[in-house]
Subunit: 467 residues, 2 copies
């Protein structure tokens, strides 16, 4: 059965890529209020793709606009299903997202972010791998089975969201209130990466996060630093002093109780990580490109990025940032500060500790406020279940290599909701590569992985359907 | 003689204000490359004003575009003179500037920055007091004397620049190379403020400054903080750690040797400062508006803003500063950092100490670079000269109160050049008020001070002409 579907996928592979390019041309930047129309256009594109693949009940679900969101507005979910495999067959919930990160800084792109361009066997575009390319593989795997064989080996529900890059509050609320409509036995998520090229990989853990804004106010209005410098509290200096007190130069986060309750990876997991093909110096040079790596030196790089919490600052809003000089002591400045959380940490508790510490270290003359923009729980998935085994087998068949289990440093908040709210395991079968430039200029997706990934998904459904 | 001129000024006062408004409508923002045409238009407006006032040899002087400038381009000087008072009369060099600071943040203005608006006896506009309004008083004082009496009691040269807000490299180079063309016995500068409303004030000291950019680089490209957080050095965190190491929360600047060689004010000067009408709590509430004042608590507020050096951060460029969330570890971030210098400090030496300390404290994995954008020397002017005495007397006549001597916390680099290169005393007779919002939204100029200031300048010329 799957051979027929794979033959169909091979025959139509070029068209699949052209369709993906059309989707990539839509600048569906969910954080940008001015792109709301484009975000909806991407949702409609996905719905149309599911419809022509042969899925049923395809429709947009307007998410609850009353749910508080940092981005300020709601983007629709796309739903579809095909439930004719029989009651004895499991139901797989396919998840992906059609929204993308902002493309800035624009001038560092070698080709325009919303004009997908092929170079060296890759497609370069914002969203190529995260997650339009990978989400589209689900749609095309389903099409290949339905058009190639006339049916699916399992029951399928598809849910695709448009707020993943801005916190995913809409789908979280939907899962919380209407989880029954997504009833399934396992979730399939393709929004992660392979540990190395041609190394089949399943991700079995993700860090959680809290994304915050730390706003500090000093003077009531912008002041001249000549007239007032020395007496007026400077919000930028205050922010610097506070951030430096929170994150030491050895990578240790000095917020009291921050590391309390952290669950370390098992010995077996740590042993497996040590056997992964990882060259720290190669990683430093080719992926990070800094003169040295940062962070807690007592932990390996994989531990530091997978199983240790972090604090990062993403930007500071306010003051004068134009060319040249302006001698202003601004009234306020706001730092975008996020923390990655690992198993054993709770977003609410971490935020409370952070907030309390900020209050404690706010300098004289400064008023500070912290705002929680969005959050997601960390998760770990047991490798001891049949869906994970099926996924590992499917990838091994396609790549001819043993599948490795890794974790991811990033956060896909909805995966935690699937696991906790729907009570189902999540299979994180991703086809990105380590140098795909997620969230950065020149994001890309390796075209060979797109095709092999579709084949892997087809085989996964087949194996699961034999259960 | 001066009574006739003052009568002329009173008669034409309303026109003077309307002309000033026309000048204020020109957005001559010298730091903004797109405003170069407007900057020139302002220069031409000033030249025309000097011409119709009756001055001679009015022309624009193109400054040397080869002089390195942070702002990247040259704005012209406006020159004029009237040298018929006789060889036995002194020559006064009137200095002002026609360029202005950027108006941002725009949304905090109650009326548009380049649409001068009268409210409560003030004109609100960018440049109203700094320095278009005050520079225009020179032009109108000269017009009142020339049109009212047919001559001037002293010889006059006028030089007005358009790069004061961006470092003044053009005029500095001109004074260095063609100082002879500005030969005079004293300089008159109206670019400072009165210590309190209706308190005639002469400024006899200014802080110097260095304005710098501190750029730090971590990863070679923007990275996803989920995937790389914990291993990739974060430029914003590094900047925060470095800034916090340079400026302690007690206001002390920890750069080694930073305070070396500082000359304290004399006992007599400190005693005079203590008798000034200064209420720290009123200043905190009405001018600064913060919950507490900042800085070195061992020094009074006037010392902290007049005779102590400072460090301020004006903005941080880079990363994500839009609405919502983007989880980026940016490749680089740049802080705009300036230091105010006091007598005994040299810009070059301070920059060298700062640069060396930055190198010392640059965190692992980070590459730092400091760039000097512009600088100016601190100055102190002796009160023991006839021009200062004449200015004090002129203001006392107009306001009916004893003139006080203060210092200014800001920097007018060219004043140092006049004193050092031309070897002449500078009279800093300013008519701004402490709440005029220099460099901030809602900059204003008190209209009564405009008129009384013109009268003071007229009387100053008359007293000096009697010498």
């Amino acid at each position: 059965m799957s051979d027929v579907a794979v033959a169909y996928a091979n025959e139509h592979g070029e068209r699949f890529i052209e369709e993906l390019k059309d989707l990539l041309r839509i600048p569906s930047i969910s954080t940008d209020p001015e792109r709301a129309g484009d975000v909806r256009r991407a949702a409609e594109f996905v719905a149309e793709g599911l419809r022509s693949a042969g899925l049923e009940h395809v429709h947009l679900i307007e998410t609850d606009s009353a749910v508080p969101r940092a981005s300020g507005h709601a983007h629709p979910l796309v739903y579809a299903d095909w439930l004719h495999a029989g009651a004895d067959k499991p139901t797989i919930l396919c998840y992906g997202h059609y929204d993308v990160q902002p493309p800035d800084p624009l001038d560092e792109w070698n080709s325009p972010p919303f004009e997908p361009t092929e170079r060296d066997g890759n497609i370069y575009a914002r969203g190529a791998v995260d997650d339009k390319g990978q989400m589209w593989m689900h749609v095309k795997a389903l099409e290949s089975l339905l058009k190639g064989t006339g049916s699916l080996p399992v029951n399928i529900r598809v849910i695709v969201e448009g707020e993943e890059e801005v916190g995913g509050e809409g789908i979280a609320s939907f899962v919380g209130h209407h989880g029954g409509l997504l009833k399934a036995d396992a979730a399939l998520v393709s929004d992660t990466e392979m540990f190395a090229p041609d190394l089949p990989t399943l991700c079995v853990g993700l860090r959680g996060m809290i994304y915050t804004e730390l706003e500090v106010r000093g003077p009531m209005t912008d002041l001249h630093s000549g007239m007032y410098g020395g007496a007026a509290p400077n919000p930028f200096v205050a922010l610097a002093q506070m951030i430096a007190q929170m994150k030491r130069s050895d990578g240790h986060i000095a917020i009291p109780g921050f590391y309390d309750g952290i669950e370390s990876p098992s010995k077996a997991e740590l042993t497996a990580w040590r056997s992964l093909p990882f060259d720290e110096e190669h990683y430093r040079k080719t992926e990070v490109g800094s003169t040295a790596l940062d962070g807690e030196q007592a932990f390996s790089v994989l531990e530091r990025t997978w199983s240790r919490p972090t604090m990062d600052v993403h930007g500071v809003v306010g003051g004068f940032t134009g060319a040249g000089a302006k001698t202003v002591i601004p009234a306020k400045a706001t730092a975008k500060v996020s923390f990655r959380l690992v198993p054993g940490m709770k977003p609410e508790a971490t935020f409370a500790k952070y907030k309390a510490f900020v209050e404690l270290i706010t300098p004289r003359g400064i008023q500070a406020e912290v705002r929680l923009i969005h959050s997601g729980e960390p998760i770990v998935i047991s490798t001891d279940n049949s869906y994970i085994h099926a996924a590992a087998e499917a990838m091994e068949e396609v790549w001819g290599k043993k599948t490795v289990y890794v974790r991811g440093g990033g956060s896909i908040p909805i995966v935690g909701d699937f696991v906790r709210q729907l009570g189902i395991p999540a299979v994180l079968m991703g086809f990105g590569l380590p140098d795909d430039n997620l969230h950065a200029p020149n994001e890309k997706f390796h075209i060979a992985n797109f095709h092999k990934g579709i084949e892997s998904i087809v085989r996964f459904f087949e194996i699961v359907g034999k259960v």
